[in-house]
Subunit: 424 residues, 2 copies
């Protein structure tokens, strides 16, 4: 394990995060929902925090907030995060990334005496959580060009306010948000640090992990249709019990993940008529399947479909599937994953590589063709999107150190590649 740069002060990141928590949180947790006054307040604070650095800052067409520390090369190292939170959110989700990024800019500015080898850019993506309009990765998907404008035009919050109206209040025209893609110019790599939103590192007793990519998702509603019948007068062998068929899927999805890895979740079950005196006529369950490997994800879906058909046949009911949403897996850049792993090893002496089940802005940046990697830090309760979200202060320190090392390795790589291509 190597000593960190003497110009890096992880405690400053921790202090910044605590300051932000005081400013924008309450007893129920973080309240920085995107496109709200508290979110705007947090961004103003972020700009003030970078005032000591010679950075240029502006918001792009999608409302993403960029800070640029110019370097010897125009080639850019991007570091990203999001200051927005879910309502009653955790104090680290999204802003740990940003404040670690600010500290790394400080370190680089000092260490290179104002002349970093490459340009460093920090980006605060707009509305990663999608908490208000139900559409996550807003800013980064505008940047990548994957944002579905037709869908976005129709989104409304709980009070019926349309997304375009809310955006206009922040000077954003929904119709032009994809111009944010211009910010990708000269981008050579993208790094994102994030608190793990699950218990993998916690279970392994490890502070940090290198993220291999974000899982692909297949999300469906599965509808079983049987026949309502009186609970007292209908013999068991005469029933067409939609709940029986649907319920068999619960065990099946665990068998599927035993075979293929990944995760499957039945999060909702609705029964009709849903009364104590009738066999269930209609039963609808939701199924969320995730895997880092596209072919494994496809196989998991196929297995679940054929199982549902088998259970339907056994119970003399019918089954139909409706796709709610899907996204392909995003595999992060292999070299950057190696750098991330090495940076963690140098910091903690032990590393681990893992996929991310939840999506992150990094997935959209990777889809935009920019070499990307993420680093995870352990979540103390294996939980996020909750006021009890937390990470040991010791681990916070380690993650800033390791993330800084990853930034340094990546800068060197960008320089080397530039020289390599210049030499061709």
């Amino acid at each position: 394990m190597k000593a960190p740069s003497r110009f890096l002060h992880p405690q400053r990141t921790i202090d910044d995060l605590k300051e932000l928590r005081e400013l924008t949180g309450d007893d129920d947790g973080a309240q920085r929902v995107a496109f709200t006054p508290t979110w705007a307040k947090a961004r103003k604070w972020l700009i003030e925090k970078t005032a000591e650095l010679p950075v240029e800052s502006h918001t792009d067409a999608a409302g993403n907030l960029w800070f640029t520390l110019p370097g010897a090369s125009e080639k850019c190292l991007l570091i990203g995060g999001h200051i927005d939170s879910v309502p009653n959110g955790g104090w680290l989700d999204g802003c740990l990334n940003l404040m670690a990024g600010v500290e790394i800019m400080r370190r680089i500015h000092t260490e290179y005496e104002g002349k970093p080898p490459v340009t460093i850019r920090l980006v605060d993506w707009a509305d990663e959580e999608g908490a208000r309009f139900g559409k996550s990765l807003f800013g980064s998907s505008a940047f990548s060009g994957h944002l579905n404008l037709e869908e976005a035009r129709l989104l409304k919050d709980r009070d019926g306010i349309p997304l375009p109206t809310a955006l206009a209040e922040f000077g954003i025209d929904l119709e032009t948000v994809k111009q944010a893609g211009n910010e990708a110019k000269n981008a050579a790599a993208y790094l994102e640090l994030h608190i793990e939103q699950g218990p993998v590192l916690l279970d392994l007793g490890l502070p940090l992990g290198a993220v291999l990519g974000t899982c692909g998702v297949e999300r469906h509603a599965i509808h079983f249709h049987g026949q309502a019948a009186h609970s007292g007068s209908t013999p068991m062998n005469r029933r067409r019990d939609a709940f029986l068929a649907a319920a068999k899927m619960a065990t099946e999805i665990y068998h599927i993940t035993e075979r293929y890895g990944g995760v499957c979740t039945i999060g909702s079950c609705v029964t009709e008529p849903g009364i104590v005196t009738s066999v269930v006529e209609d039963c609808t369950i939701s199924l969320d399947q995730r895997h880092l490997d596209a072919s494994s994800l496809a196989a998991m879906l196929m297995k679940a479909k054929s199982a549902s058909e088998r259970f339907a046949q056994e119970g003399n009911v019918s089954v139909s599937w409706e796709r709610i949403w899907e996204i392909e897996p995003v595999i992060f850049n292999r070299t950057l994953v190696e750098f991330c792993d090495a940076a963690i090893l140098e910091t903690c002496g032990v590393s681990h590589s893992l996929p991310s089940g939840p999506l992150h802005d990094a997935a959209e940046v990777s889809r935009a063709g920019i070499p990307t990697v993420m680093m995870f830090v352990q979540s103390l309760h294996g939980i996020s999107h909750n006021k009890i979200e937390d990470t040991l202060e010791e681990h916070l320190g380690l993650c800033v150190e390791a993330f800084d090392r990853l930034a340094e390795k990546t800068m060197e790589w960008i320089v080397k590649r530039e020289r390599g291509s210049a030499g061709c």
Copy 2:
């Protein structure tokens, strides 16, 4: 097979039923919900139908409507049914019983030239279905004394009208309904004909069956409590999935009935938070268990409880049970079941004995200590509480014949018993 009495005209019963259907039904089925104007209209029609007979009629303290054809003995043969229906109900459920009873009174009056050996009483029980206030067997449970007044005082319909208010509109004081028990005086036997509300006779290809009794019922809400967790970031082996544990009960209840007989139904499943991106934290299912044998019913309940505890343990969730309702099995009078079986054999050449899963007024009469039996006629689609409820016209004719034979055998039995006790 013997020829029926030449004074019996089953076609009159069928014609009466069709007339009632015209008068009180619409395109969606029967609409004779108790304590509504249509129900009152049906009762008025019923009184008119009996006008040709020298019967006395009155309603008792619970709103049950009694018709008395006096006989040589004060000992009474009771025949019962209910003219009330569920909304959009079938044309036979409840009123087939009554109109067969009217025809039997006509036959006895003619055949015995106005001097029946025993007194014959026909009763139209008030609110068998409980469609408006959610409490079935209102009139007959007031008669038996089993009505829970504390519960009944609190019942309201969908418009918030309390049961006591609705009763008052029909001249009934809830506080005095149990005085209906006075009608039990001199009651020697109770007979009830009913359309089967399931497919047992249909599957066996038989028109009629003798009913052994009504099943006991154990009705519970079973609540599994786990832990909400992100569908993407929570490894399968870390989940505390309340739906997984609850779903295992679906198959289990079929295993239980394979072993013990009876029926078990999970009619409702509710998941919380019930969203596609979270493992289910809370899952509540309803379980309705029925058996004619009390010890088998108790064993079924015990098996279900221990299975739920096993599934909870396997899934690291907790489970709790809440009893919604229970009633013990009611076994009908053995001699009357034999008479019923013999009457069916004489009518069709083939009979079958079966329990009733659904409850009927007969269960309450039996609980009041009056020797009781029911006869079932085949349901064409194995279905009731639905406008498609139907019975072959040929079977309707047979059931009136067989039920009349049962009445005759029972009258003879009452006379014989009276003589027997007089001779002591």
